[in-house]
Amino acid sequence: MHEQSLVKSLLRQVDEVLIENRGSWASSVEVEIGPLSGVEADLVRSAFEQLSAGTRCSNATLLIQLSLLVVRCRDCLSESRLAGFVFRCHHCGSGNVQVISGDALRLLSVTMDSPVEIEHA
């Protein structure tokens, strides 16, 4: 349910990127999924296959990068990569940490056709 609505916004955003850059179709779409994003990579993949039919992404490959959960400690200011969901600074042990990466679904890049521009005299 949730993945479907996110993929719909993803497709809309890719479409905007295509229009802005005068591409007519996307050949690949690269996204990043964090462990705290609330979405599952497999469900994003199947939603993309289903919802991209008939759009300018219908032949696009979806590239999924799974990101790590990274927090910054507000006490000692160092960063820690978390393997699970225990939110503690690896350097000083504080729980006063802020998630700086891994809580979002991000559109990283779009690869598209690039028509050769014809210059008019």
């Binding site: 050949s27 991000r106 050769v116």
Partner: protein
């Protein structure tokens, strides 16, 4: 055909986050403190709201939006106390900001001291939806087991307060307030914890005081904006 790659690196939900944050700010300016109440089905969200409304009486102007897949049973329970609008999701497992905006516009007034959003019973999807709330409260009843925070980390990470409900049943169920608190605070170290028994009224005064204090902090901060 030559190809080109456009590098973007942007949050797909940036627009949604912005809309929620703008709405939160404008509600704060008018003094409306929004509480998003989340939990599993049956942990006592509606009972807690009934007890809250009874405790406050007419002291505060309270509005409630209740989300469910079907029926208006929860709205009917709250109607004797406060203006309430049922949001029927028609199968969706969570509330979204647009539904909340519509629900608020359908309430008899747009200005409340406290606006409660009773989310759809679900510890998963509601965690990913910012409903412009100032406080996210996760309710966990003693009958659900004290192992839930670690199993649903996003819900407990994104909540500000955990309310342990049905405390009258503690003698009959294997549930430790200490271990559930420790488990939840591994996920969110500054998570506040309260315990209540809504049907007997235990802990309701402290819960209401907590909300009043949080609202006061919000009002004081929004005056400075």
């Amino acid at each position: 055909m030559p190809e080109k790659t456009i590098v973007l690196n942007h949050d797909i939900q940036a627009d949604r986050r912005k809309a929620a944050s703008d709405m939160r700010e404008s509600l704060a300016k008018q003094g409306t403190f929004v509480i998003n109440l989340v939990s599993s089905p049956g942990s006592g969200k509606t009972s807690l709201l009934e007890a809250t409304c009874q405790h406050w009486g007419n002291r505060w102007k309270v509005g409630v939006l209740v989300g469910d897949l079907a029926t208006d049973r929860d709205a009917k329970r709250l109607e004797p106390f406060v203006p309430v609008r049922q949001l029927t999701t028609g199968g969706a497992c969570h509330l979204e900001l647009t539904l909340v905006q519509r629900g608020l516009s359908e309430l008899p007034s747009q200005r409340y001291d406290f606006l409660f959003i009773e989310n759809v019973g679900n510890l998963v999807c509601p965690a990913s939806h910012d409903l412009a709330e100032h406080l996210r409260v996760v309710l966990l009843s003693t009958t659900e087991g004290d192992d839930k925070p670690g199993k649903y980390p996003k819900m407990f990470r994104t909540s500000d307060l955990m309310v342990i409900s049905k405390c009258d049943l503690l003698p009959y169920v294997p549930f430790s307030i200490q271990s559930v608190t420790d488990d939840a605070r591994l996920i969110r170290a500054d998570l506040d914890v309260l315990t209540v028994c809504s049907i007997r009224g235990e802990g309701i005064a402290a819960w209401c005081q907590y909300l009043e204090d949080r609202r006061q902090t919000m009002v004081a901060a929004s005056v400075l904006l």
